[in-house]
Subunit: 321 residues, 6 copies
């Protein structure tokens, strides 16, 4: 069954489709009849849903959140589209095409991942190489690495976004490094590969994008350090101890890659490599934000709406055709 | 041999004693003769030392820094006391009474440590208890815990300072907790025990107080998380896995215990326990700073000199006798 | 007549009860008929009220704000409960049970006040004691002290909140002081007793919580200084002059107890006592905020909603049962 | 006896003059002889003084600080001028021409004060007038008002500076008020008269400029409020109570006249009068600083040295002749 | 035809008038009928307009924004007034009385402009005078100077506001300058005349107030410098070169007149003239904001609503009648 | 004559060489003899110079600053090397090898400049190209462009530094642009070429590095805009007007290229090109600072001294050989 996306539904249309239900609430009308209010969502947006003549049993059975099959009709209420639900039944996640519900990169993630591995193969230092390989060999983690978004809102906020952002920053680093020969290339490559690896555990991205408890309590920077320690521990158990200076230099880049205390870095950059990674990471995130805001502006204006995180509106007019 | 402390040396005195030598430099006089300038230190201060008629061999043999036996004489030069060195010989650290060279708590550290253990024995939660016991059972680490200072400059900056600060904050927590029954006591006690444990590795304190490379690159907050992960890993290897919620709650307190991003905490307090530990830690450090500055003021003024970190001078006059 | 609280009213219910009316407005319908829109409030919340077929005379007679007796009916309008008013009459404040309209501490304020006095009886310094006793002997002020909230929004924002906050901070101070023997206990106790005394005049709390003109123009810190000066003036008139050093030391603690310029303290703490009072006051206020936000969270989430003043959401999951 | 000013003393000159002695210290030479090091000051600067062959008795008798009669000789030591003292005797302050030791306004303070009173005579509001008159009638306070500096360092830092600054800001206010007819003139005039009155008690200015204990603990803003309360209390005792709105409006201007929390104002301006006084006060202080720095620059450069408080150097070249 | 202002329209009234239409949108009802939603505006406010039974052709013909003649009826919908449109036709801007649509100063702009020129005639320095005259002789620019608002929102935000603000600050400068004889008067007058001249090009003010593209990309400070350079270029072409020191001194005042980096000044004031212009400009803008907020407060409260830019509410009660 | 550099002079050496003299002062000894104190400088450092038995005539003839021929001898005085001058004579700047006195890039500036022109030849947009060519055709300006330093202190602070920094950032931009196809390449290249062009006029770099008056009053950002306006004016005079959108887009990048208000940008980046230029400029400057500080550290420590602008010390230990 092809999914009809929420941003394509018009008023007065019959609905027979799967949606993600969020925050259902059981209420009673003035006359005492029970009804359920809820949000029905897919990756293009969300609508209010109303099921009149509901029962407590129906309400209790609903996932909060989860996937449901809805039969009903769309209508305009107070200038907004809503969906009147006649029938609702629960759908197992395994039967759902998740791509309909979560935005996903348009790029080929297997190709991106292969290119990431190719770039990382330039690392010859045996200890750094062993550490990077230990990560690459963790299939479960690499699956998450290929799936996770890079953020909930600000940049690359779609499935595969983490990989895409990592891939892009690795390429930018390779392009820039020749102009700064004193910067240690292998350390930069390993650090970029791992700088946001903690996001695989900081975020959830199975039904919608949010933070895990651990993610919110520790943050992806601290989580990355703990993940690296675990991999290093396994290497040590195999007789391959990574020397302290390498561990410190790598961990320092990750700790400081946000560049400023108020952005959650407990240490400021103190090595050339840490500065380079901080700038390239920030550049890639900001250019994503800026160009996406320009592309997505719905009005015809020469300017986007106010971008709070950037403290400005953005100018959309080009000089080149 | 009893050490004559630097703050007791007067002009014109014969010197035959052990000092810590720092930053020796070989120079030549206008006439081309070589001499060595250096600092001679103990825990009460430092003086300039000058060895005229020196040789490159003597210079090369000097530890930088390290302990030396000095024979010579004190004199006033340009209003400052300095020491003219006739003979200098290297002294093995093992033969030195370190207490003469590094300030040390006046309290009985074994007694303090026993009281810390007594307080920690209130922890009944089996997982938290296992984790705390794993730390207490690490003799080498506990030796460092009893020896390390709590900081290089700001507070409890002497051998045993970390233990004294931990002991004091544990006691304050015990006194305050009854007034906040919703705060989880055992979590607070474990977190206070471990909140500065990273300082055992962040700082060096064998000859003088400074930062290790790892300490400066990572900081004691990140180091504490890695140390806890290691202990938890050992427990897991013994079949005693600590559940995620306990690890997260404890790690969060440690990450956020500086209370503000600009003080190096990558996360702000988000649990009652994290708030309590942040306040008690800060209170203990600040009251140490304030009362020490008041006690140590050398003038008779009602006010101390300007305290940069506190953005004020401190008032020394009391209303009580 | 027992008051039915607003958070217990359901749709379609007959209403015959007293409410606090706020912000009544006279409007006309499309057909030119007059009606009055208003808020009807008690301590559990507020609802829209609508009186159709109103007259200008009815409107003019309404208190703005004040207490009214309402007869009418509840109904749902646009998904929200509102009250249709058939009859409205003014009620004298003296006949109203104020506890129904303003939240109030659940503790026994007379008991708390007695304990406060017991703690203050530890003050032996004759001048401090005279000053504290002068406050305690001011029955009118002490009545306000027992009634006032500690704040409009952030913490202890209910009748009796000022007393409860003062009681709690006095107890915490008593518990903590033994660990800091250099801190002058009697000065701390007197200062905590008086640190927020200005709130008795900064806030109004007869019908709802808001600021007085004086409170908004001067703030409770400046008001406290003026109140202390007045009491000291009376003591001086009785031949009991308080010496300058005591007045200054006490006033300084009050001026600096918010700890930072941007929180409205014109002076930063410059005595051990000022630091201690600042920390204990802040700790008590923050732990109230944190534990209350955790308790009051209406969702089942592990996290509260975003707490703007704390710049974080709060984690609600405990490790202890 | 005419005083030879310190900035006119040359090397090799016989000295027989009165100086302010500061921070005398008793020291011993290499050979064990006692000598006294001290600063000798007047309003043009300070020099090191050395009295060889001193005794403990001489040292103990010295004021710390205070005036002394010195007989000796000037010499160059290590590129700096110093004074070798042969004889030192204490001089009573009453016999000293204070103008030699503290900088003083070049204006006629009696004339300035008369003009201030003339301007204040425009206040017709009976209560404001009564309050202002109560201050004007306090001869002791008015004597201080005419003598105090306006600050220790930043602006009008000389005897009479407070009066000069107050006089100037009153005149500027009179000139500006016609363009802002909604601003209440009488309130502005009274507030400017009193805005820095607390400086009479915040600062000491008998031998040198510094802070009193009360001044440092409370600050001139809080002190002004207490002084106004005292005057209002006396008026009330005479049956002339000042109404609350007037007291609040006046006090608010004083509390907020520094304009920003970080400059020590616990309240931000919230009335047109408070804004006007804040701007005029700041303008007068800043223009004093700027023009004085430009005038006093000792080099021939087009630019002054770096002005830390202004975060810039100042340009000295004019376009007009 | 006299315009009936939006703030005078009542429910149930026939409408036959010109309005400014903004943001028209074509929508379809539940039944599939097309309608147009839009805002109808004049200088007193805006209302929702609804045209049922609309066509795509009507929608396409509408200006976005622009002036239209509306025939229809007012009604209350969901407690808000809206206008039901029966007929809509486009009106040429030339036939519209713009004063009905944009707020305008109540002062006589020709009289203000003449007074500005009178004040500027005090400038005798031949180069400054030539530059100022070059601006005054540019009729097209002077027309804009008399028409432009001084800002979109914060102060003098109405046609003629720029002239009124410039006129007022020139007068305040003239009143204040005598008290600061070191400040170069002619430079101050020229700088005030030109300090906001860039606003003639930074803002649009033909149908509503907003920013031009250039204005948003460069800002009126940089624009002013470019305009001055252009005028100076023309003078140079006429053989009247302005010397560098005069250009720099004038440009510096304009660059620094916002006084702080975060307010968009790339340089901080570094001359007495720059400080004076900064203070007078800020004073005039702030007093406009403050007194306007006090006058426009719609409630009877002693306080205005919260003023975000001033971080306070404003007190409205006066002490004078 | 080969110059002996200051950092190679040893004590007791005969001196017969050219130096830059700075800040000469005429003083008199205790015995009343005149002498001149001065600094003698070259690009490796500065020493104190002393000319005993000087006359006022010699002093008056000295350049302040300028080049002089010195004959004399080096000696140690108070542990510092100084030069005793027997003969001093003025040297014309034209006869001086400036490279001895000002540090200079080690790169071939003609080659760098050719590569810059090659990169700029990629600009095909006829208007941008015309503007860039107008700059390239200004031989006098291009000579300065090849000579100027990029800054006085922080980065590329040597002759040719501006060109080297511009060359490097152009190359980095070319390397990075392919990964951000939405960013307009030609605009970026033109903007990078011109982003610091104002430094040719902001700084002086004939005898030492400092600011011009215009530079200090306006800053290189405003100066660049004025220079571009001048070139555009000349093009317009030739019938080649640059359209507003291109001028605005280019000027905006220059205005915002410091990225933050507090760094002197009056506008924040609002186009993708502005973000890219800001990041690349900052990256190049910071990596210069960081790697230079690491290379120049004189001690053997693993860490550099504290870097104030970076708020950290820098780690010097590498993981690669």
């Amino acid at each position: 069954m092809t999914h009809t996306f929420i941003n394509q539904i018009e008023a007065g249309q019959a609905i027979d489709d799967i949606f993600l239900v969020k925050e259902p609430i059981l209420r009673s009308t003035t006359r005492g009849d029970l009804y359920i209010a809820m949000y029905l969502c897919d990756r293009t947006g969300q609508l209010n849903g109303r099921m009149w003549q509901a029962t407590e049993a129906i309400y209790n059975a609903l996932p909060k959140p989860g996937f449901v099959h809805i039969q009903g009709r769309s209508e305009i209420y107070q200038n907004n589209l809503q969906i009147i639900i006649n029938n609702i039944s629960i759908v197992d996640t395994s039967k759902v095409c998740l791509d309909d519900f979560l935005p996903r990169t348009e790029k080929d993630t297997e190709k991106l991942f292969k290119e990431v591995k190719d770039i990382l193969s330039r690392i010859k230092n045996s200890q750094l190489k062993a550490l990077v390989d230990e990560f690459l060999a963790d299939d479960e983690l690499m699956k998450k690495f290929k799936t996770a978004p890079a953020a909930i809102k600000l940049h690359h906020n779609y499935l595969g976004g983490l990989l895409e952002h990592t891939h892009n920053t690795l390429n930018v680093a390779l392009a820039v490094l020749p102009f700064y020969p004193q910067v240690q290339q292998e350390l930069v490559l390993a650090a970029i590969f791992l700088h946001d690896i903690g996001k695989t555990e900081e975020l959830t991205y199975d039904m919608s994008f949010s933070y895990t408890n651990t993610g919110q309590l520790l943050g992806h920077i601290a989580q990355a350090l703990l993940m690296i320690k675990q991999k290093a521990g396994r290497l040590e158990a195999k007789g391959k101890k990574i020397e302290e200076n390498i561990m410190d230099s790598l961990n320092h880049i990750i700790l400081s890659h946000h560049g400023r205390y108020e952005f959650g870095s407990p240490k400021l950059p103190a090595t050339p490599e840490a500065f380079l990674v901080n700038y390239i990471d920030d550049l890639d995130a900001k250019l994503y934000q800026v160009t996406t805001a320009i592309d997505n502006e719905s009005s015809d204006s020469d300017w986007t709406s106010w971008q709070k995180a950037l403290e400005t509106r953005l100018y959309r007019k080009r000089i080149e055709q």
